[in-house]
């Protein structure tokens, strides 16, 4: 009567089919539209950077696998890290940059701490910050997207850098972000300008063409960060596949927006509640950071409450660094700093237990149920 063919294991005997690998590949799929946009607007050079960083991340992981006698390539995490590193670099970076960044991410940040699941900061972010501060000159040239000026390979500083430079000159005091960009004659597309007038005439909403361009990805920046729109398309996929929840990105963006709206105008001589937070939301690495970097599972809290604290902290730090810091990389640095707090958050922020009812509340409620 004994059946040697059946498995005897502990319950449950069902599984929802998701695996670490499927989740990693899902994130890569979600990133694809924004990455392809980067290749489209920044040219072949962008594709080269993306491919080199993916190849070197996977290559370094493979070598480390040989060392530690395991096989983790199929889990998709090395591919994802490579893709994220590439997307976080400008198309005009030196070829050496993605290679160095990938090696740093896979070897120093991930492998030395114990591999997948054991690193305490996001490898791709740590790599970006590492190469930026080590080899600033090799990766600080940005080109304007060809959708913005018709040809590619015209270099320009990013919107945020342009604004910061103009403000430190003191020539634009009292202007909003849009005003500053107008003053420095930052280019915008015909599409954005007509959409802006449509908003103005039909909906009576004032939306600057720079905001529209920033939203759709007509601005200079890193390969994968420019199109907020396509990143959000990917985010919808992540929500549908239940890979991420709203807690981190929304609390992150909401905190930043609130602070930027209330205090954002102050540094340039405007009053309270005059900050142009919408343009700020769509510029720089904000979307990529909030939705794809801050939500990295390994380096974010496990409880919803913890995630919200993490997001609020991140949003607050981005605000501080972006408005009052003297260097770029505000989103990366903010997330890395919050990464450091994650073990502490996870230790002390416990989910509310079922049946955790205080005496007084229970009694005051009575038995009316």
């Amino acid at each position: 009567m004994e059946d040697p063919m059946v498995i005897v294991s502990s319950s449950p005997h069902l599984h929802d089919r998701a695996s670490t690998a499927s989740m990693m590949w899902d994130v890569s799929i979600a990133l694809a539209p924004a990455a392809l946009w980067g290749v489209y607007v920044f040219g072949v050079r962008a594709l080269v950077i993306l491919l080199i960083s993916i190849a070197s991340s996977v290559g370094v992981e493979f070598l480390l696998n040989r060392l530690s006698k395991e096989s983790t390539l199929a889990d998709g995490s090395a591919f994802l890290t490579g893709l994220l590193i590439g997307m976080n670099l400008p198309a005009d970076s030196s070829i050496a940059v993605p290679i160095i960044a990938s090696a740093f991410a896979m070897f120093v940040v991930k492998w030395t701490f114990g591999g997948l699941g054991a690193n305490w900061i996001n490898p791709a972010l740590a790599a970006r910050v590492f190469v930026f501060f080590s080899f600033t000159n090799l990766m600080n040239t940005y080109r304007l997207p060809k959708t913005l000026i018709g040809v590619d390979s015209v270099t320009s500083a990013t919107m945020l850098t342009e604004m910061n430079m103009a403000m430190s000159d003191g020539a634009v005091t009292g202007l909003t972000s849009t005003g500053i960009l107008e003053a420095v004659q930052y280019p915008f597309t015909q599409f954005a300008s007509s959409l802006s007038s449509w908003f103005q005439s039909v909906l009576r909403i004032n939306v600057s063409p720079y905001t529209i361009d920033a939203f759709f990805g007509n601005m200079s920046g890193c390969i994968g960060e420019v199109s907020a729109f396509l990143l959000l398309v990917g985010v919808i996929y992540l929500f549908a596949r239940k890979i991420i929840t709203w807690h981190i990105p929304i609390s992150f963006l909401a905190t930043f927006s609130l602070l930027a709206w209330v205090f954002g105008g102050v540094r340039n001589g405007l009053g309270l509640f005059e900050g142009d937070f919408v343009l700020q939301l769509f510029s720089g690495g904000m979307m990529l950071g909030a939705f794809f970097m801050a939500t990295d599972m390994v380096t974010s809290p496990t409880t919803y409450k913890g995630m919200i604290i993490f997001g609020i902290g991140g949003g607050f730090l981005v605000f501080l660094l972006r408005y009052f810091g003297s260097l770029p990389e505000s989103v990366s640095l903010a997330i890395i700093v919050m990464n450091i707090f994650v073990p502490t958050i996870d230790r002390y922020i416990l989910p509310k237990r079922f049946g955790e009812v205080t005496k007084t509340r229970k009694e005051s409620k009575g038995v009316e149920a």
Binding site: E2, P12, R17, G117, P351, V357
Partner: protein
């Protein structure tokens, strides 16, 4: 307007797979030639054997006696002879003594007719529940006479009847509510009388719309003071704590019992057994079992004598059409996998499933990426990944401080874990070792 509620915190939505057997009417298993009746079919102390090898037994005769406060009597389902008393292993890996009874093939069963019960006092009813060896048939098998004996000073605000059957595949309770509607309701009214409950509620998940309909119709016909609450499908709603949250919106505090929030929860199967005990004076000697799973030729709901072997059931359902990867007693989320088909059906045995694994069931474990999915789905608000890590490192005391004992082993965390960590297995181990 009917409010469709559910419990709030956590929970998962496995495919319910009930379509395999939910339209199969209850059939009667052909009388097996031999029954194996374990002395430990309930939570608490095993029953004390009253018979010896070679003695003959009659159907309904008490052959094992409750040996302590939390224990239950055991009865013979058939006329026959005791071949031996031997150690057997139950599906849940518990080893216990069992009577092996050779069934008299000429007249195996006794017949039971409804007897007058209107004049019975609630004390007499409770005594019948005890005498007839009734235990919870949902799987926990807590002796029912202990549960229904409401201590002095406590009162039962709500009697909540559990018709949720949230485990995938299982349809025994569903069929029971459909086919024995009146008797289930009678059983419920007996329980209400015994516990002096003020409100009576039946919670049923709305994937059993026909059962909800049937219950409502009979309740109207008999003008009974019972409310059927349809519930949104979500696992583990059949757990009594989640059920109370969903139906009467009360949370049983950690480490407490439903009675602490003025509630008693009884399974529909148990209510039916109580009906038979009180109205028919029939002991708990048979039960309805779902035979299902992808590997079974003809999934069925079958009424079987306690002590029937799994092989008898499988044979009746046409055997296996493919080699099953696992054979499980109970539901797939909390049930026990076992390998021996001579394992007997006991009082808490709600189904036997022959499952064919999907690829993800066989995946090997990978490192935890702290995605927090287990935390999100835990209906008790625990942190399975953290507890698992503590238990792995043998820090049982710390795990206890994080309320490991609140874990009900519902399996939601393991079900969603993308790293395929055996979280529930870890919890079970931790509870066992941490208690010492």
């Amino acid at each position: 307007m009917v409010r469709i509620s559910t419990f709030k915190k956590g929970g998962v939505h496995p495919k319910d797979k009930k379509e395999l057997s939910h339209s199969q009417a209850i059939e009667i298993l052909p009388t097996p030639s031999e029954l194996v009746i374990p002395l430990s079919q309930h939570l608490g102390a095993p029953a004390k054997p009253l018979k010896e090898k070679g003695e003959s037994v009659t159907a309904g005769e008490k052959i094992g006696e409750a040996s302590s406060f939390i224990s239950a009597d055991i009865h013979s389902p058939v006329n026959g002879t005791i071949l031996e008393i031997r150690k057997v292993m139950l599906a849940n890996s518990i080893k216990t003594d069992a009577f092996v009874i050779e069934v008299d093939p000429d007249s195996p069963f006794a017949t039971y007719d409804e007897q007058p019960y209107d004049s019975l006092s609630s004390k007499e009813m409770l005594d019948l529940v005890k005498e007839m060896g009734i235990v919870g048939t949902g799987g926990a098998t807590f002796p029912t006479h202990v549960k229904l004996a409401v201590p002095k000073g406590a009162s039962v605000e709500s009697l909540v009847i559990n018709g949720v059957e949230c485990e995938p595949y299982l349809t025994a309770d569903h069929r029971l509510m459909l086919e024995e509607t009146t008797n289930v309701l009678k059983g419920i009214m007996f329980v209400a009388k015994i516990t002096e409950a003020k409100n009576i509620i039946i919670g049923v998940e709305n994937n059993k719309a026909d059962a909800i309909e049937a219950l409502n119709q009979k309740i109207r016909e008999l003008t009974l003071p019972i409310t059927v609450v349809p519930l949104k499908v979500k696992y583990p709603q059949g757990d009594e704590k989640q059920l109370l949250k969903a139906t009467i919106n009360r949370e049983v505090p950690s480490g407490k019992l439903p009675l602490d929030v003025g509630a008693v929860v009884v399974n529909v199967g148990t209510a039916f057994a109580i009906y038979e005990a009180i109205a028919l004076r029939k002991p708990l000697i048979d039960r309805i079992v779902t035979i299902s799973g992808e590997a079974v030729s003809e999934p069925k709901n079958v009424r079987v004598p306690i002590g029937s072997k799994v092989s008898d059931l499988v044979e009746y359902a046409g055997g296996f059409k493919v080699q099953p990867d696992r054979i499980v007693s109970g539901g797939p989320m909390m049930g026990f996998a076992f390998y021996d088909q001579s394992t007997p059906v006991t009082k808490g045995f709600s189904g036997v499933l022959a499952l064919v694994d999907e690829k993800s069931n066989k995946a090997t474990k990978t490192p935890c990426i702290s995605c927090g999915k287990c935390v999100a789905v835990c209906p008790m608000g625990l942190q399975p990944t953290r507890l698992y890590r503590l238990i792995e490192n043998r820090k049982y005391e710390e795990a206890m401080k994080l309320n490991l004992m609140d874990c009900k082993e519902c399996g939601s965390c393991s079900y969603v874990c993308p790293a395929h960590l055996p979280l529930v297995h870890g919890m079970k181990l931790g509870k066992r070792l941490g208690r010492k």
